[in-house]
């Protein structure tokens, strides 16, 4: 039980408006890329964990289509936006216990269709039962729920649209340095405030992109990883929190989240303090989500996330807080939890190109699923 697990390889498929390729094909491309990046071959894998978004399912037959044989671990996982970190956690536990030696974890989705809107891809279609009732109420997408959460935060703590704008604008600056980003052109305050309401107080640029694509990671022991390419990222700690009890209906809805508990657990396990975190990759399905997560992790006092993140010199390239350095889900690509996780791995391995930050040692990565229902946190260490 003493082995340390590490990320030995990363693979990203084509991302964004990639049409004519299904999620399982994108997943296969990402796994092949990650295996190659780790200096391995597909036949070296003895574990595979698959997951997918809202498009074509990626099932266990991905193993067959990749020609994998004699696996010792093969399963599908789903924790919505917390899935990516959960997969890494499960793979790391498999490595630490000797259950498997080399595990690929992969997430893929293909919600975008040529000629159809991004917004429509995530709209609630069902008219039956409780979902139908919520749609009739006007809660036709998850964005409306997040708007209710963001509104509570704004009215309780004085968080402003300017605070949310600061997050969106800074992340677009980072995206400008990321060749993988879907939106790289600068975002001005006028662009932000002129953008349409999706669900007041959330405007278009408060909302994440919709992307087709896949990301895969290779998890193995640190010892073995060092024998491969020598640039493995150590998996130091993790935590999950699923507050339950219909969080969207709880007293603290919108004000505090399970990120607090999952973050504390991950930091304790990694024997790391917040002061030691020098890279922050936060699940940012909405600007508000990033803001409330940063608060719950303890980077500022509860309720002060808006003022903290919008302070001049805080975010963006050259800022004092290295957060969502690839542009995040708002501006780079939306692969659910794989977006923050992939950027953390690229930065810690020194593969972030023009946006590479020097000397980063510890990354804190967040995942958030449902409407603040499912939380996962990962602490990663540089090679």
């Amino acid at each position: 039980m003493t082995r340390q697990a590490a990320v030995a390889g990363i693979g990203l498929s084509d991302l964004g408006k990639v049409f004519g390729v299904s999620a399982p094909e994108l997943a296969a491309a990402a796994v092949r890329g990650a295996v190659s990046d780790a200096g391995l071959e597909l036949g070296d894998l003895d574990g595979l964990i698959v997951s997918h978004g809202i498009g074509t399912p990626v099932g266990l037959d991905l193993a067959t289509s990749l020609g994998l044989q004699d696996l010792r671990l093969l399963t599908s996982m789903q924790g919505y936006g917390s899935t990516a970190i959960q997969m890494v956690q499960y793979a790391a536990m498999a490595i630490m216990t000797g259950t498997a030696r080399t595990v690929a974890v992969v997430w893929a989705d293909d919600p975008l269709r040529a000629g159809e809107s991004s917004g429509g891809a995530y709209a609630t279609g069902s008219a039956a039962g409780w979902r139908g009732l919520m749609a009739a109420n006007g809660l036709t997408s998850v964005t409306a729920w997040y708007a209710l959460a963001a509104r509570r935060h704004m009215e309780a703590y004085g968080t402003t649209s300017e605070d949310l704008a600061a997050v969106a604008i800074a992340q677009r600056e980072w995206a400008g340095l990321n060749p993988l980003a879907q939106h790289r052109a600068p975002l001005t305050p006028d662009d932000y405030f002129d953008s349409r309401w999706i669900a007041d107080p959330l405007r278009l640029y408060d909302c994440c992109l919709v992307s087709n694509g896949a990301a895969a990671l290779i998890i193995t022991s640190s010892e073995r990883a060092d024998d491969l390419r020598g640039s493995a990222v150590d998996i130091l700690g993790w935590g999950q929190a699923h507050p339950g009890g219909r969080p969207a209906m709880s007293e603290g809805f919108g004000l505090e989240t399970g990120a607090r508990a999952s973050g504390q657990h991950a930091l304790r396990m990694a024997d790391t303090t917040l002061d030691e975190i020098d890279l922050l990759q936060i699940y940012d399905c909405y600007t508000y989500t990033a803001l409330v997560t940063v608060e719950d992790y303890g980077f500022c006092e509860k309720g002060e996330g808006g003022a903290f993140l919008s302070e001049k010199g805080r975010l963006g390239p050259g800022g004092s807080l290295a957060m969502n350095t690839g542009g995040g889900q708002l501006s780079s690509y939306y692969l659910w939890g794989m977006t923050p996780l992939s950027e953390a791995v690229l930065q810690l391995r020194g593969q972030a190109g023009e946006r590479q930050l020097a000397g980063r040692k510890r990354a804190l990565v967040s995942g958030n699923g449902g409407v603040l229902d499912h939380h996962a946190t990962l602490v990663l260490g540089a090679p």
């Binding site: 039962g129 509570r152 349409r196 969207a248």
Partner: protein
Amino acid sequence: MTAVTRDRETEWFFDGTARGELLLLRDRRTGEFADPRDANRHAPAEWEHVAAAGSGTVVSWSRVPNRHEPDDAVTVGLVRLDEGILWPTRLVGFAPEESPTGARVHLRFMTSGESIPYFVPA
């Protein structure tokens, strides 16, 4: 507006709205109210269905434009029912420039497929 259809899980609830009742769950032993969507927390025999008094206070809200007709916005809200349950609902009758948060509201019903509960200023 979505024309709602009932399914097996919601038959009892929409039977209630058809009578002009917003049914909540109440634990027979403790008297504690629960969200009607959370019936699995107990065995069915331990719940009773009780009509909400029909008043509450707005806790949060959002105006959601119709994607196809942006000038046509729906106001959605979270209402703390007097029974203590936070209930997601449509809010009608608030001026666009005012925040409904903190306002007292009353239950009404409209038909869209099934009878749908919504709330208006008290």
